[in-house]
Amino acid sequence: MEYALSPVGILVPQKRLIRATSPLVPCPPIEEIFQDIPKALKEYFGTLLLKPLKERIQVLMAGSLAFTLSKALQDVPWGATAFSLTNTTIYFGLWAAAIDDTLAGNTASECAYTSYARMGLTNNTTIFATGSGTTTYTKTFPSDATKSWATSTGTGTNNTVTYMGILNGNAGTTADKGYAWCTITSTTINNGDTPQLAVNAVTVVQD
C-alpha cells in the first residue's frame, strides 16, 4: 500500500484510479466458491481460464455462436435494442464442409441428400427449456424428444456431414442469419437413413 499526504497533513492511503487493462469480462470472484465445487470442475475452470476468451465463452461444443447472434445479444442490454433475430421457428442444418462464425443461409456445401431439408423446431421452452447454472449458464436441447430430419431417398450430394449449423430462417439465402454452429461426428447419410438429434444432444455454455 502506498500513502500520500492529505491537504491537512494527514498520511492517507494513496488512491489510484482503476484503469481498464483488458476487455470487460464480468467474472465472479471464483476463489470464493472453490470450496463448494468438486476437483474435476476446479480443473475444468483452470483449463478454461488459460484458454483464449472466445474459447472460454463457447468451450463445451467445438463450435460457437455466429457473428450475427453475438451482435444481436450485445445490442439488447447495451442500447436496449430489441432482439433482432427472433423467429417462431429455429432451423437446424447439416453441412459437409467447415462452417464458422460467418454462418448464413447461403453458406456453401450444405447437405443435399435427396429429400434433405433443414429441420425447423418451434422456438418455445418445451423444446428449448430453461437452462441451468449461474456463473456458467448452460442450455441443452432439444429438451422434449428426439428430433428427426427427413429420411434420405437418394445419395444426392454432400451427404457425409461434419458440421451442424443453426439459423433463424429457411429461405436458403443471406436472409437466414446464423445462430450457432458446431462440429459433429462425421456421418454418411445413405438412402433410407433418417438423421436424428437425440434429446439434449446440443449443449451451449456461456459464462
Binding site: 429420411t151 429457411n170 436458403g172 439465402t173 436424428q196
Partner: protein, 144 residues
C-alpha cells in the same frame, strides 16, 4: 381444404418425421406435409403415411465430437474412472478420427491455410443457394 398433387418449392422438416412445404411465397400450402414419391414431392393427405414412414430404414445419429479432455472432465464429474474402458470408448475425436473437431482439415472444401481458423466458408449466390438444397428442384432426377 388441404392441397393435393405435386408440390414445388422450399422444403423443411418438422422434427417429427414430416417433410413439409415451406415456401413463404406459397402461403396456401405453407406447413402442409409432403412426401417423396416417384421422383416428385406430393402432398400427403390426412391418414396417409408421412415421408419418413414411407422411406425410413435406419437412424443416423447426429452426434457430437468428444476429445480426450472433454471425456476426462465428464467422466470425473459423474464419478467414472477416466481411464476406464467405458470412458475411453466415449472418445471419438483424436488419433486420426474426427480431426475436424480440432481444426479444419486440408481435404475440406472450405480449408484455407492462410485463414486464422483455417476456414474460409464459401458462399453461394442467393438465387442458386435457394434451390441447390432444401428445395424440390435440388432433387429432380434422383431418389428411389
Amino acid at each position: 381444404m388441404a392441397p393435393s398433387g405435386i408440390y414445388h418449392g422450399r422444403l423443411a422438416t418438422d422434427g417429427l418425421g414430416n417433410l413439409i412445404a415451406d415456401d413463404p411465397e406459397q402461403p396456401e400450402t405453407l406447413g402442409y406435409p409432403v412426401a417423396f414419391h416417384e421422383g416428385s414431392y406430393v402432398f400427403v393427405s390426412p391418414g396417409e403415411p408421412s415421408h419418413n414412414e414411407r422411406h425410413h430404414q435406419n437412424f443416423a445419429d447426429i452426434d457430437g465430437t468428444r476429445d480426450a479432455e472433454s471425456v476426462k472432465i465428464a467422466a470425473e464429474a459423474v464419478g467414472v474412472d477416466p481411464d476406464s474402458q467405458q470412458a475411453q470408448d466415449m472418445i471419438n475425436a483424436g488419433a486420426g478420427e474426427n480431426m475436424h473437431h480440432f481444426e479444419t482439415q486440408p481435404d475440406d472444401p472450405h480449408y484455407d491455410e492462410d485463414a486464422p481458423n483455417k476456414t474460409n466458408a464459401k458462399l453461394d449466390a442467393d438465387a442458386l443457394a435457394a434451390v441447390i438444397t432444401g428445395h424440390t428442384d435440388a432433387y429432380k432426377s434422383e431418389g428411389q
